[in-house]
C-alpha cells in the first residue's frame, strides 16, 4: 500500500517538476503516464524489497 500511494504521488510530483523545470509540459504522458509508472514501480519495489531488512 505504501509503495502504491508513494509511487502514485511520486509520479505526479515528477510530472509537475518536469513542467516546472521546463523539461516537459503536462501532457497525457507525463500527467497520467508517470503516476501509473510510479504505481508500477512502487508495487515492484514493495514486492521485491531489494534493499534488505529495515
Amino acid at each position: 500500500v505504501l509503495g502504491i500511494i508513494s509511487g502514485l504521488l511520486f509520479g505526479f510530483f515528477v510530472a509537475l517538476l518536469l513542467q516546472q523545470l521546463a523539461i516537459a509540459p503536462l501532457t497525457t504522458f507525463t500527467l497520467i503516464g508517470l503516476p501509473i509508472a510510479g504505481v508500477v514501480l512502487g508495487i515492484v519495489l514493495s514486492a521485491w524489497a531489494p534493499l534488505g531488512r529495515r
Binding site: L2, G3, S6, G7, L9, F10, F13, V14, L16, L17, L18, Q19, Q20, L21, A22, I23, A24, P25, L26, T27, T28, F29, T30, L31, I32, G33, L34, A37, G38, L41, G42, V44, L45, S46, W48, A49, P50, L51, G52, R53, R54
Partner: protein, 187 residues
C-alpha cells in the same frame, strides 16, 4: 555492480520513460502563418518542442509581444480558441468569433506582458513558471487551422510557492517510495 543489476535496470527504464515527452511533435495545419517578437526574439510555428519553446521573460517589466498572423482561405464567419494542454484536457484561455464580412485575412498587434500579469488571478510571484503546451484552432468559411506551440514562462521553479511545494513533494514521496523497497521484519 552485477549484484544490483535489477534495481539499475528498473531505474534506467524509469528515467528513459521520463525523457520521452521531450521529443518533438505537431505544429500548424491548414496553411495559417504567424509569428511573435518577444524581447527581440522572433518566434513562429517551429517553436513547438520543449527544447525550442517561445520564451516569456515574466520577471522583466515592460516586455511587449508584437504578433502577426494570416490565414490562406476565406475568413468570413470565423471563430477560434486557444487553450493550455493539461494532460488529456485543454483549458481554454481565450476565444474569438466574428462575421468579418470584409474578409480580412491577416492581423497584427502588440500585447503587453505586464497586462497578462495584471489579468492573472494571482500575484506575479505565484504565477507558475515552467513549460506549457498551447493548443489553438481557427475556423472560418474557407477552412480550418490548428496549431500547437510550447511556451516557457522563464524563471526558477524555486521562485514560486508552487515550485517549492513541487520540489519538496518530489523529495518526500521519492524517499517514501525508496522506503517501500526495504524488506519488512518477519515476526
Amino acid at each position: 555492480l552485477l549484484r544490483h543489476w535489477k534495481p539499475l535496470l528498473f531505474a534506467s527504464a524509469f528515467l528513459a520513460l521520463m525523457w520521452i515527452p521531450a521529443l518533438a511533435f505537431a505544429s500548424v495545419t491548414g496553411g495559417c502563418t504567424g509569428s511573435v517578437v518577444i524581447d527581440g526574439t522572433t518566434y513562429g510555428p517551429a517553436n513547438d518542442t520543449a527544447a525550442n519553446p517561445i520564451v516569456v521573460p515574466i520577471d522583466k517589466s515592460g516586455v511587449v509581444a508584437a504578433w502577426e498572423g494570416a490565414v490562406p482561405f476565406a475568413n468570413t464567419n470565423h471563430h477560434g480558441s486557444l487553450g493550455i494542454v493539461v494532460g488529456p484536457w485543454d483549458i481554454e484561455i481565450a476565444s474569438w468569433a466574428g462575421a468579418n464580412q470584409e474578409d480580412t485575412r491577416s492581423a497584427n498587434g502588440n500585447y503587453n506582458v505586464d497586462d497578462f500579469k495584471a489579468d492573472f488571478p494571482v500575484a506575479e510571484s505565484l504565477i507558475p513558471r515552467g513549460l506549457y503546451e498551447l493548443s489553438g484552432t481557427h475556423e472560418a468559411d474557407g477552412g480550418t487551422c490548428t496549431a500547437h506551440v510550447m511556451v516557457k514562462i522563464e524563471g526558477s521553479p524555486l521562485s514560486s510557492p508552487i515550485g517549492i511545494a513541487t520540489v519538496a513533494g518530489t523529495i518526500v514521496t521519492g524517499l517514501t517510495l525508496l522506503g517501500s523497497a526495504f524488506r519488512r521484519r518477519t515476526p
